[in-house]
């Protein structure tokens, strides 16, 4: 699959294509989604109890890394990692099974509307509540902030407190239901996110695909897998940045020679090499701990998040620097790689959050 994706990026996802996709869809492009389905990438979401074959999480992250080399804007991680990892761990049901099959075919896209525990909110804390109505339906009210992948999804996976209890419910909500209000906006890297308000949204009882303590555990595992997937993205971004920079400095001539001949440039490239090797190594370590008990898993994931983000920012910033004025323009990949890295750094908890998780 690695080679399939690498070829897809090389042949079908140039910077020009990416620019067109951004202009046409303002983030969350579905235009390429059918290609993802055709290439079989979406079937990574299928658990063993549905498909013939259960892919390993390792397979998924390989694909994520290769997609990131093209700085793709489609919500692959949001769907095939975050939403899928949650759904995989929910008990089988008609709704849950059909949703996963539709995701694998590319017919449905899902955004996870959960509250980020590491989010720093000044004023009110977002709360979403689900109440059982006398009709047997569930009424959902509340709000979610900065949900990635929501601007073109047809379903939402919403976590809500069950009224009158301390339990959490995981509910599948159709984006087009009355009472679901979106405020979509762009992010700095041409992707998009949405604030969502739920106003007495009515869903059937069987839309609740999980409830109780299990939900906490499912979300916690999925969150850590999401972080690892973001780290795989970071690795792709780092490798690709280093590669295009190495090409650029060999081509660019000033003072009568290729700037790659200057020692300061060579050392900067060497630094990039060291950053990415260290990042990849800690990534493997955290991958090895992904199925461990929560405490051990969290420490491993947080170490990786911290180090990879730090190294990734240093590397992509250096890549811009080595491109000179051209590094600041939209016409070269490096500025897009840097912005993706900034995004990855601030999503899923920043360095401060992960450093304290490591120290617990």
């Amino acid at each position: 699959m690695r080679d399939t994706v690498a070829r897809f990026i090389r042949e079908e996802y140039s910077l020009d294509v990416r620019r067109e996709l951004c202009e046409l869809s303002s983030g969350n492009s579905k235009l390429m989604w059918h290609r993802y389905a055709e290439l079989g990438l979406l079937s990574l979401c299928l658990p063993g109890d549905i498909g013939d074959f259960e892919f390993d999480f390792t397979d998924t992250v390989v694909v994520v890394e290769q997609l990131a080399c093209g700085c793709t804007i489609e919500p692959f991680v949001e769907n095939i990692v975050y939403a899928a990892e949650i759904l995989k761990r929910c008990p089988t049901s008609l709704l849950r099974d059909k949703l996963l099959i539709d995701m694998a075919d590319g017919r449905s896209t899902v955004a996870v509307a959960h509250d980020d525990e590491s989010e720093r909110l000044r004023g009110r804390k977002p709360v979403t509540e689900a109440a059982m109505e006398s009709s047997g339906k569930i009424s959902i009210s509340g709000e979610k902030f900065m949900v990635l992948g929501a601007s073109s999804c047809d379903r939402l996976l919403v976590t809500a407190n069950i009224m009158g209890s301390h339990e959490t419910a995981l509910i599948v909500v159709d984006s087009s239901l009355p009472g679901v209000r979106f405020n979509h906006y762009s992010l700095i890297d041409d992707s998009s996110a949405s604030d969502i308000v739920f106003e007495d949204v009515l869903v059937d009882g069987d839309s609740v695909i999980a409830r109780g303590e299990d939900v906490e555990a499912v979300i916690s595992t999925a969150n850590d897998k999401l972080v690892l997937a973001r780290m795989a993205e970071a690795l792709g971004v780092m490798e690709a940045s280093m590669s295009v920079t190495s090409e650029y400095v060999k081509e660019r001539k000033q003072f009568g020679r290729s700037i790659a001949e200057f020692q300061s440039i060579q050392h900067a490239l060497a630094d990039m090499f060291v950053y990415v090797q260290a990042a990849r190594s800690i990534f493997f370590h955290s991958l090895s701990k992904i199925d461990c008990p929560k405490y051990e898993r969290e420490r491993a994931v947080s170490s990786a998040k911290y180090l990879i983000c730090r190294n990734g920012l240093l590397l992509t910033a250096s890549a811009i620097q080595l491109h000179g004025g051209y590094g600041i323009t939209d016409e070269y990949m490096v500025s897009h790689f840097y912005k993706r890295m900034v995004l990855i750094n601030l999503l899923c908890g920043d360095s401060s959050h992960h450093l304290s998780r490591m120290a617990r």
């Binding site: 989010e119 000044r122 902030f145 906006y185 300061s264 811009i320 600041i328 900034v342 401060s352």
Partner: protein, 401 residues
């Protein structure tokens, strides 16, 4: 060695501050709070005109050309208060670059024609130096100016020309003689930007704005009377111009202002229920920047008041740029880190009325523009002589390497 500002300087500071606070329009201040850098061109001109009213539009110029005759320290205080009051950054291309070249090397006619325009901030000027093939190696530039009677025919391409799409005039470094050493074959020409043959293309950048441009020159007819000095003087004028603003490239006052914003953000944003300013990790990062900012400020002061050995001064000036540009990046990066995820939202800054978010509690207005500035600051270690070039200058001048 006197390490304190005199009473006269303290009272001068108050005079300046009082004037600024009384004239800065509220909407300009607000727009500039979000945009920060580069400022809106019209706002920058408006502010320049307000300064001109008070006779302060070109205080560092010789008195005979409209300067104020201030000391270096008065100049320093003036710029410090300018940034602190929230006014837009000045249009240096005119007042600090081409202006001094014209009053030092221009003919009387040129001084008469152009100096009042610059003093009065009537419009902006474009600096046409860099080319696609000539960035750090400016001497290799190729835009040619061929003499044809009383005109030059200028052809070539300039790049990274800030604000060229708004400018009325530009000052261009061109090749008038290709038979000699590059540095001896250049001239400085003033070109009207709406001359036939001039076309400007804004370049979309990392921060979503398109402030720098490519300027294409296609057989543009430029009168010989628009040449400053003689043919072949161009390189020395460029050096004069680039070396003239010794401390400006430190962006010290801008850094101070952004640092104040950073501290403000840190009191407003929360982490686990307490203000971020109380969080050990963030507080340490902020203190570290505070120390570096003090070092930068005092470095600037030392350059201004001391008569240090000439050999070191070019190295000192370069070190100001090295420190200052990296501080620009650290401060604006930390601003986005304090905001956390909120910094990831991109706001369209060209229509400020529309972007003020509706939900102040979740989307405070101070979140607007922060990531834009931080992204723009990736350029601060590149323009005006990249980090690598500055370090080479220091190695040569401070160590004789």
């Amino acid at each position: 060695m006197n390490l304190h500002f005199s009473d006269e300087l303290v009272s001068f500071r108050k005079t300046v501050r009082d004037y600024f606070e009384s004239v800065l329009p509220g909407d300009v201040k607000k727009r500039n709070y979000y945009l920060s850098y580069p400022p809106d061109d019209d706002d920058a001109l408006l502010w320049g005109r307000l300064l001109h009213k008070r006779g302060w539009s070109v205080p560092s110029w010789p008195v005979e050309y409209g300067g104020c005759g201030w000391s270096e320290l008065q100049q320093y205080i003036f710029e410090d208060e300018w940034m602190a009051c929230g006014a837009p950054v000045g249009h240096w291309a005119a007042t600090h670059m081409i202006g001094p070249v014209i009053y030092t090397f221009g003919s009387d006619k040129q001084k008469e024609r152009f100096l009042p325009i610059i003093r009065e901030h009537r419009y902006t000027w474009a600096q046409g130096f860099s080319e696609p093939g000539s960035g750090s190696d400016l001497a290799s530039l190729r835009t040619s100016a061929v003499r044809d009677g009383e005109h030059y025919l200028v052809s070539g391409q300039k790049i990274w020309t800030s604000g060229a799409h708004h400018s009325k005039w530009g000052f261009f470094l061109v090749k008038t003689d290709t038979s000699c050493k590059p540095q001896q074959g250049m001239s400085l020409l003033l070109i009207e930007m709406d001359s036939p043959g001039v076309s400007v293309k804004p370049i979309r950048q990392i921060d979503g704005r398109a402030h720098v441009c490519e300027v294409f020159l296609d057989d543009v007819k430029v009168p010989v009377s628009h040449r400053i000095g003689e043919e072949g003087d161009g390189w020395s004028f460029a050096k004069f111009l680039l070396e003239n603003e010794r401390t400006a490239s430190s962006f010290v006052f801008w850094n101070k202002r952004e640092f104040c914003k950073l501290k403000e953000l840190a009191t407003k944003e929360m982490i686990q229920g307490s203000p971020i300013s109380k969080n050990a990790e963030f507080s340490a990062k902020i203190s570290s920047i505070a120390a570096d900012l003090l070092a930068l400020e005092w470095s600037v002061l030392r350059v201004l008041v001391s008569n240090d050995a000439q050999a070191n001064s070019a190295a000192l000036v370069s070190s100001l740029k090295v420190l200052g540009s990296q501080l620009q990046q650290r401060i604006t990066e930390l601003q986005t880190e304090v905001l956390g995820k909120k910094a990831l939202r991109s706001f369209q800054l060209d229509d400020l009325e529309r972007i003020i978010p509706p939900d102040g509690e979740v989307w405070p207005d101070y979140a607007v523009g922060k990531s834009t500035i931080a992204l723009h600051c990736r350029a601060s270690t590149i323009y005006g002589g990249s980090l690598q070039v500055q370090k080479t200058i220091i190695a040569k001048k401070a160590f004789g390497l």
